[in-house]
Symmetry: C2
Subunit: 122 residues, 2 copies
Amino acid sequence: MEKPLQIKFNSGVQEVTESNWTESETELAQRAFKIANERETRTLIQYACQRASEIKELDELWQLHDFLSSKRHEIEGKYDNRMSMLVFVFAQLLKEGWLNLDDLTGLGSDKLSKITALARML
Amino acid sequence: MEKPLQIKFNSGVQEVTESNWTESETELAQRAFKIANERETRTLIQYACQRASEIKELDELWQLHDFLSSKRHEIEGKYDNRMSMLVFVFAQLLKEGWLNLDDLTGLGSDKLSKITALARML
């Protein structure tokens, strides 16, 4: 069983666990997660396709391969959909521009402030 | 220092080393090696580009990534340009269609017979 994660904030140590999320927040979070994933996926596919179309030499193909290895590792690690990880995931996605604050409108102010604070720290 | 490789043939154990290649055979071999490499590279790049252009889902991008991982491993292992390995390399390339016998015209009949025999065994 997953142990609750703890992060240190101005207000002290606060647990960020599944039990903190209301039903409507959970739905909103799942939607935001999906939106970010689709945006990043679409952009990545377009980029890979564009790069592939410009390849003339084998070295360039292997550079694309290296890029995909790195992206695959990054994406598989980043999109962790455990509720306990969502604050961290959203902070990362916010920082990278795959989510914006409008996508998170409806989350409690406690979560929004954690997410934005974490995004600034990343 | 590289030890001479030995292969067993109908005629007995024969060494396949650098010293077996005449100057003109070496030039011809280098040209054939390059031709095969260019053919396979060009085909691979075209294929990767075509596959990339058809990708709609992230899973398909990772399938392309897996394919490139496998091809990179295969190609980096296959194009071994040590003279002592050329008979084996050419046999493989002949079998796979990246070389044909016309590309090897000019090699001594001893080498051609080894290459074609090996290609049949692969």
